[in-house]
Symmetry: none
Subunit: 123 residues, 4 copies
């Protein structure tokens, strides 16, 4: 696993896990890899993974069962989806529009890209 420098590793791991949950790699109710497993796989210090898992359990995405490991919470995928959509519409999109206005970029230019990329179509 490779990491960017401008963002804490533990957050990158947490987000990566979110996308893995969305993709059903870790289904709801199932057990996550243990901290140590995940740490060796990601070539990272176990403490860092601990931090990722704590962050996720604070968001009710996973939950620890004493002595047994972490399990994906029920409804986790939907909750992740909600969080990401909210972040998109309340932060990413307004900032995006702000930049367009500041740079005088026309809506048409962006819409053309959206058509090219076929974002309309179902996954």
């Amino acid at each position: 696993m490779e990491f960017k420098n401008n963002k804490p590793i533990f957050l990158q791991i947490a987000e990566h896990i979110c996308y893995e949950i969305l993709g059903r790699r870790y289904p709801e109710g199932e057990r996550m890899p243990s901290v140590r497993e995940y740490a060796t796989e990601a070539e990272v210090n176990p403490g860092t993974v601990v931090r990722s898992f704590e962050w996720l359990s604070q968001k009710d995405i996973i939950a620890s069962r004493r002595g047994m490991g972490y399990y994906v919470s029920l409804g986790a995928a939907e909750r992740i989806r909600q969080n990401l959509r909210e972040a998109f519409f309340q932060e990413t999109l307004p900032e995006f529009v702000r930049q367009m206005k500041n740079l005088g970029i026309k809506a048409e230019e962006v819409e053309n890209v959206l058509k090219q990329e076929k974002v309309n179509e179902e996954e």
Copy 2:
């Protein structure tokens, strides 16, 4: 002046100055406010403003004249415009599209916002 937590303050200041130059508040060839002036106005540590100015002069947007302060470079506005547009089309926009795909957000939803905000019209 208010700052977001997820970005270094000195960068936010630098970016803000860029937009001020684009808006002709600081015209090309003219003298910038002194570090101290800017610091008190923005309610910020002077050292932080120093860093912003250094960052801007590295980008050839402003330049220091010994003992006289910083001056807006000739061609600064156009250079800023180029940099920001490049960043927009090569980083912001692709990342934006990636998120839309991941979250299943339709082009239509974004286009509606663009219409509402009237990003088409000239300022």
Copy 3:
């Protein structure tokens, strides 16, 4: 059976058993359910029940008879009652009072709850 997260499961089980003994569900001198039985009933790891039973036998509340299982000790109920009352008056109650003082909660507020719950009356 459901467990809280802030307390070891084996202790919660042990405490639960104590109350079952007080309530004559497991009368003195009688045989306890086997570890396996109890574990499946409580949906818990058998090793955890083992620990609960060991903890209880250390407190002379139950005792193991070789090859026959655990039996409720004679005088267990009275001993439990004593222990719990002692803990209540020497630990729980003082801590309770301390919190009331810290938070400025009036005696009246608590007394009202006690009346509502009818803690005066015999069960």
Copy 4:
């Protein structure tokens, strides 16, 4: 500073700070001691204090200002008070009543203690 064994040190520190904020030792809006200061004073590893501070800032009790330290949030005292009262009435008190019922302790016995301790009176 002395710590109990049954509770994480970083939590004990965090709670201790809460009471110090309630007691105006750290007034709202004022700067907290730095992580390193607090660590040496409490004879604890700096990382442990970091965890305490993170925990508190998650609860909106303190907030970090980049490069300047942690500051007590506005309204922190009231928020702490609310949290503690909520915990008292929704957790401590019901559990307290449950124990009373289980042990057959009469309301009168508790009320006498409350009178002795004069919990009625204003602080």
